[in-house]
Symmetry: C2
Subunit: 146 residues, 2 copies
DNA sequence: CCTTGAAGCTATAGTTGCTAGAGACATTAG
DNA sequence: CTAATGTCTCTAGCAACTATAGCTTCAAGG
C-alpha cells in the first residue's frame, strides 16, 4: 500500500491532483490508514496511470470518465471507446490545422519586421489589421486546452 | 458612436467579452450615454480589433496588454514587440510538435483496434500502458490554450 | 403617447484542470 | 523526544471567458 505521495511519485502526478481526481469521482475514495491517510493499492495505481496517460494524449476528464466506465465493462462492444478516440483524433487534427496557420502568420510577421521604431513595426501593423494576413486563421469554434 | 452590441457585431466579439476587457483594463472605460450605456468611437474599435486579432493568433491577454502599451509609444524601438511575437511563435511551434506526436499515437490506436469487445480493445489497452506507444508524447510543461 | 420587446446595465457564479495556501494532525529519522 | 516532513481539509486562485438574474433604457409600432 502506497501513501498518496508515493503514488504520485510513481505515477508522475502531483499529490493535489490525485486528491482532485478523487473529489470529482474519477478515482474511487481511497482506503484510509489508522491515522486517516489515504492508502493505495495496485488497482488505484493502474487507474491513475490510465487517467494520466489519457490526459497526456489530450483527452478531457469527461472523456476519460466515459473511457473508464467503459473499461469496467469488458464484455461490451468497444465501439463507444473507439468513437471517443476518433473524436479526440479529429479534435487534435483541427487544432493542428489551426496552429499550422498561426505559425505561418507569426513567421510572416516576424520575418517582415525590419526592426526599427514601433511606428514602422510590421508585427504591430499586422496585429492591427487582419487583411494583411495571408491566411484566414480566425478562431472557428471553442478554445480548448492542448 | 456605436453601442456595445454594434461594436461587438462589427468586431466579431461577444458583448460580455467587451465588458470583460474593460473590466480588466485592456479597453479603457467607455464613454456613457445619458442613459448610462457605453458608447464607442473609432479608436475603441481599432483597439478591440487589435485585441481580437492578437487573440486569434494565440497571444495571451498579458502579452496583448504589453503589445498595446508598446503600440502607444510609436517612437520607441520595436525590439520588445518583436520579442513577444517570437516568443509566441516558439510557443506555437512547441504545441505543434506535441500535437503532431499526439496525432500519430491516436491514429495508431484507432487503426490497430479490430473493433471487438472492450477486453480486446486496442484503444483501452494503449491508454492503460504508455509503453505501447511509439513515441514519447508525455506532457513536458504547462497546459496552455490554443 | 404608450406599450412592448430588444438591448443594455451591474453583480455574481460557473466553466476546465488543476495549483497554492492556511492551519491542524500523522509519521518518521535521528 | 523532538524536529522535519508528509498528509489532512477547506478555501481561493489561474486564464479567458460565458451564463444567469434582476434590473433600466431605448427604438419602433399602433
Ligand atoms: Zn518590429
Ligand atoms: Zn490575421
Ligand atoms: Zn476498440
Ligand atoms: Zn503514450
Amino acid at each position: 500500500m502506497l501513501t498518496i505521495g508515493k503514488l504520485g511519485e510513481a505515477a508522475g502526478v502531483k499529490v493535489p491532483t490525485i486528491r482532485y481526481y478523487e473529489q470529482i469521482g474519477l478515482l474511487p475514495e481511497a482506503e484510509r490508514s489508522a491515522g486517516n491517510q489515504r492508502l493505495y493499492g495496485r488497482k488505484a495505481m493502474e487507474r491513475l496511470a490510465f487517467i494520466r496517460h489519457a490526459r497526456d494524449l489530450g483527452f478531457t476528464l469527461e472523456a476519460i470518465r466515459d473511457l473508464l466506465s467503459l473499461s469496467d465493462r469488458p464484455d461490451q462492444s468497444c465501439a463507444a471507446a473507439d468513437a471517443i478516440a476518433r473524436a479526440q483524433l479529429a479534435e487534435i487534427e483541427s487544432r493542428l490545422a489551426r496552429l499550422t496557420a498561426l505559425k505561418a502568420e507569426l513567421e510572416r510577421m516576424v520575418v517582415q519586421c525590419a526592426g526599427g521604431k514601433i511606428a514602422d513595426c510590421r508585427v504591430i501593423e499586422v496585429l492591427g489589421d487582419h487583411s494583411l494576413c495571408a491566411t484566414d486563421h480566425r478562431h472557428p469554434e471553442s478554445e480548448v486546452p492542448s
